[in-house]
């Protein structure tokens, strides 16, 4: 199993935000995490990625069978866990091309023999960002919503991760960008058969990715788990609140 989360409790600044989440995700599997705002979706993503403010008070996170709760952000990334941020920071002075190279383990200022210095351009083409224009752009500075999301994908593609956690890759993205994102993701997924955990509010991107499983979170717990085909129409019809009331484990 690629990822196994067991009874995960997470505390941030003294407040318990995740209250016993259990789920699993295997290689070649796409799992969607849905739920209303403040249900714990982003907390789960940032906890899995190892952000130190998110303290695991109980439970375990097993990545390829290895307990990673005490590992740092960079160590988890090196193991093969990559997070695409919902709102990535803009950083002046760092070029997107350099950041993609760094994500691939290449030091763009002191490359080693055999390093593919063209890699950033190749990856930018994959996410439909013109390499001539974007390689030299400062990281996320002045980027539109869609550009930021594609910049995120470019960076995590460069990492060749085993598990991609995509935190709302579709928020603030127009329909054209959504198509680009969806097909780029699918192509990448099909080429390396990694695992994908996608956090989203919308069905549009899921139409491309067709998750095997959907977990609906509420109050820091998994309230409902089901197939995409089964749950999506219900969510659309009833909304999260009513659906959880009627069918949720806490409902």
């Amino acid at each position: 199993m690629l990822l196994r989360v067991e009874d995960l409790h997470v505390v941030v600044e003294g407040k318990e935000l995740l209250k016993g989440i259990s789920l699993s995700l295997d290689y070649g599997e796409i799992v969607a995490i849905m739920g209303h705002n403040a249900s714990g979706k982003t907390t789960l993503a940032l906890t899995l990625a190892g952000f130190p403010q998110y303290v695991v008070s109980k439970g375990r996170i097993l990545f390829e069978g290895q307990e990673i709760s005490s590992k740092g952000i960079d160590e988890r990334a090196k193991l093969g866990l990559a997070l695409a941020f919902q709102s990535p920071p803009a950083i002046r002075g760092i070029k997107l091309g350099h950041m993609i190279a760094l994500s691939a383990g290449i030091n763009p200022w002191q490359p080693k023999p055999g390093d593919d210095l063209e890699l950033p351009k190749k990856i930018l083409s994959k996410v439909n960002l013109d390499p001539e224009r974007y390689t030299e752009r400062e990281l996320n500075v002045g980027f539109s919503g869609g550009e930021r999301k594609r910049s995120e994908l470019a960076q995590i593609f460069a990492m060749k991760p085993k598990l991609m956690i995509l935190d709302e890759p579709d928020s603030g993205v127009d329909i054209d960008s959504l198509k680009i994102l969806g097909s780029a993701l699918l192509e990448y997924f099909n080429s390396i058969r990694c695992g994908i955990m996608i956090i989203t509010h919308h069905r549009h991107i899921l139409q491309y990715l067709k998750p095997t499983k959907v977990h609906i979170l509420s109050g820091g717990k998994v309230a409902i788990t089901g197939s995409y085909e089964e749950l999506m129409p219900k969510i659309e019809e009833k909304g999260y609140e009513r659906l959880i009331k009627e069918e949720g484990v806490n409902g």
Partner: protein
């Protein structure tokens, strides 16, 4: 030397030898010697060191001035460089009678004890002049090097960009690592004539016990542009400087860019002063600093709006990597005309954790991530600098990155 006309400066200087500078620690200049302990020699080691400050003594296609202690070991212009002349200032003063009209005219000899001592103990310096309507392809290079222990080096430089010319100069100032306890007082006068452009880049790389007091005055005439790029990356004992530009002609412009990496117990007190004297003049100072160790950094800035349609801006961006270091920004805006527009912006803070974590989430170690962020923060992108030199500066910043990978989490 010693002509009648210079006597008045000597006399003025004598009156000011004990006059403390307006800013910075007071340095007892009697602690330093004025006679070098050894004969200056251009060795491979020296040439390597000058490369660190961006000056390639082997460059064939440009002009190069190299002064070791008080000896001018190189002052030559490649034959293909047309319209630029360069020689030691003493020689130029002997050669050109008119040059006395430029001597101590951009700043005052009695400004403080350092200008005074520079006059009384002057040791060469360079004179560079571009003829009207000429343009250099590659920057002219100049290097002032201290090789002797305990030495006081006090060159007097004069640069004139004549009407319509474009002159680009890279100056490196450095000291031999074995030359302990040295002092450098470099006087520089820049004259940018009508419609001319002067880009002046100075890279400082001193030793940890060097005392540095550059004194600089700039006069920019109508439609002229003065751009100063200043880079200081290595530790220094104590540096204080406040280059001052006078924009005397309509539409003249001045821009100062500074990139500082303050480390160890360096005391760095730097600023820029801009007088927007004529109509439509504009000036800007952008100061970027990263402080580590127990360094103390002061960024002063003064801009005087003195005429209609003038615009001035002071910008200080500081990143404190170590809690034991300090950065103080002291911007001053002085509006002396109702139609001037002056602004300042200062932002000083620690490295943003959000950015650090973001980089780490790509598998970059915390040490390397700090290095990348510092490099990005200070990224030169300096106008008028050839890519080779930009890369040179970037690679220096990369060394900071490598050092941090070597062990200590933060260089505090």
């Amino acid at each position: 030397m010693g002509e009648e006309w210079r006597k008045k400066y000597k006399l003025e200087a004598l009156q000011a030898v004990t006059k403390r500078a307006a800013f910075g620690n007071d340095i007892d200049l009697s602690d330093f010697v004025t006679v070098p302990s050894r004969e200056g020699e251009l060795t491979d080691e020296v040439a390597k060191k000058t490369l660190e400050v961006g000056v390639d003594l082997g460059a064939k296609k440009t002009g190069t001035y190299f002064q070791l202690d008080h000896s001018v070991l190189l002052s030559q212009i490649a034959s293909k460089v047309k319209g630029v002349e360069m020689m030691p200032t003493d020689e130029a003063l002997d050669k050109y009678d008119w040059l006395k009209n430029y001597y101590w005219k951009a700043l005052s000899v009695s400004q403080d004890k350092y200008t005074a001592v520079a006059e009384l103990r002057q040791t060469k310096g360079y004179f560079i002049r571009s003829a009207p309507n000429t343009k250099v392809d590659q920057p002219i290079q100049a290097c002032l090097y201290i090789g002797s222990e305990g030495l006081l080096q006090a060159p007097h430089n004069i640069v004139i960009a004549e009407e319509g010319s474009e002159l680009n100069i890279v100056t490196g100032c450095t000291a031999d690592s074995r030359a302990r306890m040295v002092a450098h007082i470099g006087v520089s006068e820049f004259y940018v004539k009508k419609g001319a452009t002067l880009i002046f880049t100075m890279i400082h790389s001193w030793s940890e016990d060097a005392y540095v007091r550059p004194r600089t005055g700039v006069i920019v005439e109508e439609g002229g542009t003065f751009i100063s790029n200043y880079v200081l990356i290595k530790p220094v004992k104590d540096i204080q400087s406040y280059p001052t530009a006078h924009l005397v002609g309509k539409g003249a412009k001045a821009k100062f860019n500074s990139i500082i990496y303050a480390s160890k117990d360096s005391i760095i007190d730097l600023g820029n002063r801009i007088y927007l004297m004529a109509e439509g003049t504009s000036g800007e100072s952008v100061f970027k600093v990263v402080s580590t160790g127990t360094s103390k950094v002061y960024n002063r800035g003064q801009v005087f709006g003195q005429n209609r349609g003038t615009k001035g801006h002071l910008d200080c961006r500081g990143m404190i990597l170590c809690p034991t270091s300090t950065i103080t920004a002291i911007p001053e805006l002085v509006a002396e005309h109702s139609e001037t527009e002056l602004s300042h912006e200062a932002a000083i803070g620690r490295l943003q954790e959000e950015q650090l974590h973001y980089l780490m989430s790509r598998g970059i170690s915390p040490e390397q991530a700090i290095g990348v962020l510092v490099k990005g923060f200070l990224d030169p992108g300096l106008p008028g600098l050839p890519e080779r030199l930009q890369e040179e500066i970037r690679s220096k910043l990369s060394l900071l990155d490598r050092r941090s990978e070597g062990g200590a989490k933060e260089p505090c």
